[in-house]
């Protein structure tokens, strides 16, 4: 924990140093537009930071949905039945081949024409992010489930557990401990990708930065703040995931059995 905070601080210091140097060589840096020490700077900062809720909330909802969908897609992927496996394969290959930006545009502008469904900015973003991510979650879950030794399932069946109970009580709890770091990665990735939803107009971090630049004309300063915002969010997520890992890991306390 302390280590990665140190890394985060070093990053920020490095960034500050670069900016300071460039500030010396070129007196055009106008930090006052986002300075917490001036009235207008504070208003601007507040405007920028308030985009955090949409960014976070949208990414988090998309993560939850993509985990559920990913799991539902992963399970046919480990079936013995070939058509079921094929369903998984087609979904994963298809969905992960679609680039996110066109998908967002398609969901927002295309869905109303095709299906008569007009999602608002926020839900269109959630939907596109979740759909896109579900293919990756499915692969993560499939690998996680397959990493649980076959003997676990066999033992579960000899004590009378059915398929569902085996998944619920034996396989998934062990799989989730193993895939937690990968799920954390996906969440961080999702937060970064959510910036693309700014194109359809959702007032998240990136959109707000763009709008502020239109009135203040200070791209470098404002985009720098924007990057720092993402950096802080993702560092915090990383810490959260580490904490969860430790908490779950200590429960298992390194098994010697296979």
């Amino acid at each position: 924990m302390r280590q990665s905070i140190t890394i985060g601080i070093k990053w920020l210091l490095g960034l500050a140093a670069i900016l300071a140097v460039s500030g010396c060589s070129d007196a055009n840096l106008k930090w006052y537009v986002v300075s917490p020490f001036t009235e207008s700077g504070r208003v601007n900062l507040k405007f920028l930071i308030e985009g955090t809720w949409n960014t976070l909330f949208m990414s988090f909802l998309a993560l939850l949905i993509s985990i559920v969908v990913g799991l539902l897609i992963a399970i046919p992927g480990i079936a013995r039945n070939k058509p079921l496996r094929a369903t998984n394969y087609v979904y994963v290959e298809l969905v992960r081949s679609i680039p996110l930006l066109p998908l967002i545009l398609w969901v927002y502008y295309g869905l109303p024409e095709i299906a008569g469904i007009q999602l608002d900015y926020f839900w269109a973003g959630v939907f596109a992010l979740a759909l896109s991510d579900s293919a990756f979650e499915a692969e993560i879950f499939r690998a996680g489930i397959q990493s649980v030794p076959k003997g676990q399932t066999e033992a579960a069946s000899t004590v009378g557990l059915n398929y569902f109970q085996n998944m619920r009580y034996i396989v998934l709890p062990q799989a989730i401990r193993r895939i937690l770091p990968a799920l954390g990665n996906q969440f961080a990735y999702m937060v970064k990708m959510s910036a693309l939803v700014s194109v359809i107009g959702l007032q998240e971090l990136t959109r707000r930065a763009n709008e502020l630049i239109v009135t203040e004309y200070r791209a470098l300063e404002i985009y720098t703040i924007l990057i720092v915002e993402y950096l802080v969010i993702i560092l915090i997520i990383g810490q959260g995931v580490r904490w969860l890992e430790r908490k779950m890991g200590s429960e298992e306390s390194d098994s010697r059995s296979s």
């Binding site: 003997g151 004590v159 009378g160 557990l161 109970q165 062990q174 429960e251 306390s253 098994s255 059995s257």
Partner: protein, 248 residues
Amino acid sequence: MSENENAIVLNGVHKWFGDFHVLRDINLTVSQGERVVICGPSGSGKSTVVRCINSLEKHQKGEIIVDGTKLTHTRKSVAQIRSEVGMVFQQFNLFPHLTVLENLTLGPIKARGLSPADANERAMRYLERVHIPEQAQKKPGQLSGGQQQRVAIARSLCMEPKIMLFDEPTSALDPEMISEVLDVMVELAEEGMTMIVVTHEMGFARKAANTMVFMDNGEIVETGTPDVFFDAPKTDRCRRFLQQILQH
């Protein structure tokens, strides 16, 4: 189920893994309370026989009848048979994320519908029987191999099976832990449990077995009572095998 003389009947059982003919015409009858020890060289099909009995592997030809129920690979017959048959694996296969107590109570609670209190009480009773009640709250990873295998035995017993299958239960153990597991198994045998045990522990076989089975190449080559089997094996293959393992 009506009272049945025979706990397990295998009748002309064959199995293939792809093209590979693993079990060739296996015939074996185990009566109630009988203890059968199966031995034979590696790859001879011992595990496969045992795994076919509780349908962890599917046989493709012949009949398997367990406690009067014919194994047909329908969900119903499989569930019925598994409810009568306990299984202990070479690698223990305990659930590493659950405590010892939870390992024991999961089946009774989820599959048999026992209340947690009844399940705990039953679990503690069987932990006493394998002599490790004090380990109930630990995770399997904190136990020695011998203790883990005894937990695995207790976990099976918690389902109150009529028949216990053991597939090389001591092969993964350090030598000093083998006897603590075998002692538990001998106690089970003395209480009249029907058992099929795949093992090369010939001391255990002499003490506990009614019937010895020698397998080679997917076939049952020889069966007999321990006395006859050890002192006067009928076939060359069996004699050579016994010489080999008794030398060690």
